[in-house]
């Protein structure tokens, strides 16, 4: 499967994603955000009903917030501060390298995650934006490009990259203190910590959704193969016997073990989303327990 895909199929996927957004949501409730006024607690004082703190009155403060009961008791002007309610910023970084769409099941799962993240961001009232990433190239989407599916034309227009090119997230302009949702299979030979550090820069929070297929995690290779790289088309002759297959699965497990460890250290929860089960089962299996997503 390769981009662009049929619009009818994408519409169906998007519709299902909006339904899944009723069941699951992005983890926007767990911390305070910065941004324009909205429905989520901000980092500063605002006009919500949630009491935050007291402080002495300063010239210029709104006199409506003077705590008159405290003035009666103490004779000093003090103010009651309330939690600011802001509209969080969600930035979805979609890896559109060819490996993401190499297999139909995996491609479907990638699109489901993408539309779900967008729908969940929209549903929560966050300022949601999408940046397509492919190797060291990136492309921000304008509003409306997601559900019009024009995004895949932009993704297809991105130039080819070398095999397993590492996305250059440090070059991607991210808004401060935003929630960054990285949807990527993480199949590139890179140290995960710089990548996650770049993802979290600017006080932002990050979650990582990593779709994968059973053909990657548990292949049934046996005998002589001519392997062809899905991104570069490079060929690699190899005879696969059980010992080699064992070493491959060990390497695969170690690769994602490093990503897991790095994500824990960087507090950027990572969930691997299998492509074989249903979308709901796949999210409940790892994304919910890991705190990458939330119920409701």
């Amino acid at each position: 499967m390769s981009l662009p895909l049929d619009s009818a199929d994408l519409n169906a996927l998007a519709a299902r994603a909006r339904a899944y957004a009723e069941l699951f949501s992005l983890p926007l409730k767990e911390r305070n955000w910065r941004g324009s006024s909205g429905d989520y607690a901000g980092t500063g004082a605002g006009s919500s009903l949630d009491f935050q703190d007291h402080r002495s009155y300063m010239p210029g403060d709104d006199p409506r917030h003077i705590n008159w009961q405290a003035f009666a008791r103490t004779g000093n002007y003090s103010l009651k501060l309330y939690r600011e309610e802001v509209r969080p910023v969600v930035e979805i970084l979609l890896d559109v390298s060819d490996s993401m769409f190499a297999e139909p099941d995996k491609a479907t799962r990638v699109l489901e995650l993408f539309y779900f993240a967008w729908a969940s961001g929209e549903k929560s009232g966050a300022s949601t934006s999408v940046i397509l990433v492919k190797g060291d190239r990136w492309k921000p989407l304008e509003a409306g490009a997601v559900f019009s599916h024009r995004w895949q034309d932009l993704a297809a227009a991105l130039p080819d990259t070398p095999a397993s090119a590492v996305p250059n997230l440090s070059a991607v302009p991210l808004r401060a203190r935003s929630l960054r949702v990285l949807i990527s299979d993480l199949l590139y030979p890179a140290n995960p910590e710089p990548v996650i550090r770049a993802l979290r820069r600017g006080g932002g929070r990050a979650i990582i959704l990593a779709p994968f297929s059973a053909a990657e995690s548990d292949p049934d290779w046996s005998g002589n193969y001519e392997f062809v790289d899905s991104e570069s088309g490079g060929r690699h002759d190899r005879r696969v016997d059980p010992p080699l297959l064992r070493r491959y699965t060990d390497a695969y497990r170690d690769h994602f073990g490093r990503w897991k460890a790095a994500s824990v250290r960087a507090q950027a929860p990572l969930a691997r989303i299998a492509s074989a089960p249903s979308f709901e089962a796949a999210l409940r299996f790892e994304a919910i327990p890991a705190g990458v997503l939330q119920l409701g």
Binding site: A102, E103, S213, A214, P242
Partner: protein, 592 residues
């Protein structure tokens, strides 16, 4: 018990091993797969690509199952059998000793090497017997080595004429026993052979041309030879021939014979030449390509005439009809005397004589009664019914005399053979009878003279056939010199008590028989069996094919587990198919 393989071509099944390996690796080479994790594979060390092949093969269960199946199949196809080293098979080969086999010496060796060893390939020990087909044939070999038997065969030279091999086959069957193998090796395939014999015919039709007959006649004071040349082939044949005498020879002359044609070659004996050779351009059967000819000369007989004048004319005519007869010299004891006897004035008679009754007065009466001859070879087949003789007085019959001819109660011809006495007595007036006009009379006299000639020790020259019995009259006294036969093959001493069995040589050529330094016979021996020279019926044929299997069955035990091997073969094939089908289920990865 030792293991042998009854069907060696079954080992070709081992070629299945490289075939399986080739197919195994070819199957693995042809799969292409598009993957997303190539960077992980590239980081794994490449030992498995260039590692030891044995380790990689060991892990492939279908491969090992297929190799096992090939080995089991090979085992089954080679038909293993167990035999005991003590098992013995007797193989008796009866060689057709007829001369025609000489033309197929190479074919014989080739056929034996091709046909005989495989017969007993499955037997621990083989006892070979090689005998000739003639009743008096020799035992050429008996032992357990095939190569030694073939070496003995190289010295074998067939020379007999057409004969029946039944007696030799009977002997061969007794040597082989009831379970042994009896093979009759010939060049003319027989329809049926007795005593359970197998046939191995090594002949083939040949275009043979050869001398088939010889005649030497005296004409006009000279001697003429006549040789018969025959083409036995169904096609025209061209040859050349020449005559050789001593060191001289004529120019080669071409001769073309139509199919089956017989042509007579004729010529005069060269002056002073007692022998000559007619040499034909050789073909594969060379035994009849040279004709050796000597100028025949029977033993000389000296005769004397002591009889009355009434039979003088008759005696002169008789002497003129005899070969190599001359008057005896004075004071010489003649070999034969022609004498007369007057019963009214009896006188002693020579010991070796032909005696006529001398009756001066011619009686008027004739003998009456039937004429009956005695059973004696000297008078056999002679017709005396036309004899008319007058009734003369008879000589007194003595004891020991044999009456050769009777007429009524009268003994007409008597034969006296006692000691050195050899007398043929005509007991009637020959001159007054018609006996001189009867062929029987002349023939009887010639036969008697030949008896005298045969009993004489003297020189003679003759042309004989190969292996022809020779009647040699020699000095039998204990002090006499031994006899010897000298031919191109060498000198053979003949013991005196075996002279009666002396035969002409087996190979064509000139030969002599001597007693001491005295030559008794100068002769030639020629091939004369035209049936052996005819190769139109020769053909290759072998009925040995089923014998090998019979010997295998009788001398070996088949593999008792062959049914289990068949089941094991089926099981390995099914298991291999099971593993292969499981391995070739559609992969989750989409091939490129």
């Amino acid at each position: 018990m030792s293991l042998i393989f009854a069907h060696l071509p079954g080992f070709w099944a081992l070629l299945g091993i490289p075939a399986v390996l080739l197919i195994h690796f070819l199957q693995r080479e042809s799969r292409r797969l598009r993957i997303t994790t190539l960077f992980l594979l590239e980081h794994i060390d490449r030992e498995s690509v260039k590692g030891r092949r044995f380790d990689r093969l060991r892990q492939s269960i279908p491969l090992w199952l297929q190799l096992l199946a090939v080995l089991i199949l090979t085992w089954i196809l080679t038909e293993p059998r167990w035999t005991s080293a003590r098992s013995v098979e007797r193989v008796v080969l009866v060689l057709d000793h007829s001369a025609s086999m000489e033309a197929f010496a190479k074919e014989l060796a080739t056929a034996l090497r091709r046909e005989i060893p495989p017969l007993t390939a499955l037997v621990g020990t083989t006892e070979y017997s090689l005998i000739e087909s003639t009743l008096t044939g020799s035992n050429l070999y008996r032992g357990t080595s095939f190569e030694e038997m073939m070496t003995a065969l190289e010295a074998w030279s067939p020379s007999a004429g057409t004969h029946s091999a039944e007696s030799a086959l009977r002997i061969g069957r007794s040597l082989a026993g009831t379970d042994g193998t009896l093979v009759y090796v010939t060049d003319h395939p027989a329809r049926e052979l007795p005593y359970g014999s197998a046939l191995l015919s090594v002949g083939e039709p040949l275009g043979n041309v050869g001398f088939s007959g010889l005649r030497v006649i005296g004409q006009d004071g000279g001697t003429t030879w006549q040789a018969t040349l025959r083409n036995y082939a169904p096609t025209s044949q061209k040859r050349s021939w020449f005559l050789a005498s001593g060191e001289e020879r004529t120019e080669a002359r071409p001769v073309e014979l139509k199919p089956g044609e017989t042509r007579t070659l004729q010529g005069q004996f060269p002056a002073g030449g007692g022998s000559l050779r007619l040499v034909l351009e050789p073909d594969r059967f060379t035994r009849d390509d040279t004709l050796h000819v000597v100028q025949p000369s029977p033993k000389e007989i000296s005769v004397s005439r002591t009889g009355a004048a009434t039979v003088e004319r008759l005696v002169a005519e008789l002497i003129a009809s005899l070969d190599n007869v001359f008057p005896s010299a004075a004071e010489e004891t003649p070999d034969l005397a022609f004498a007369t006897y007057n019963p009214l004035q009896p006188e002693p008679l020579p010991k070796k004589a032909i005696v006529f009754l001398n009756q001066e007065a011619v009686p008027r009466q004739f003998f009456t009664g039937p004429v009956v001859s005695a059973n004696d070879s000297i008078i056999a087949d002679l017709d005396w019914q036309g004899l008319i003789a007058r009734a003369t007085p008879s000589v007194p019959l003595l004891e020991g005399e044999k009456v050769l001819l009777w007429q009524g109660e009268r003994a007409l011809i008597l034969l006296r053979e006692e000691g050195e006495t050899r007398q043929l007595f005509f007991n009637f007036d020959v001159a007054a009878s018609n006996a001189a006009r009867l062929p029987a009379f002349v023939l009887l006299v010639n036969r008697f003279v030949n008896r005298i000639r045969d009993s004489k020790i003297g020189y003679e020259a003759l042309n004989t056939e190969l292996r022809q019995p020779l009647a040699i009259t020699h000095d039998p006294s204990p002090d006499a010199a031994p006899l010897s036969l000298v031919s191109r093959q060498g000198r053979i001493a003949v013991s005196p008590h075996r002279v009666a069995y002396l035969r002409a040589p087996e190979a064509p050529g000139f030969f002599s028989v001597l007693q001491g330094e005295r030559t008794l016979v100068n002769a030639s021996a020629n091939f004369a069996d035209s049936r052996e020279a005819d190769f139109s019926g020769a053909a290759p044929l072998s009925t040995l094919g089923p014998i090998s299997a019979k010997i295998s069955e009788s001398r070996t035990v088949p593999d008792p587990f062959r049914h289990i091997w068949l089941i094991a073969l089926s099981a390995t094939a099914l298991l291999s198919w099971h593993y292969l089908s499981r391995a070739t289920q559609p992969a989750r990865s989409e091939p490129a």
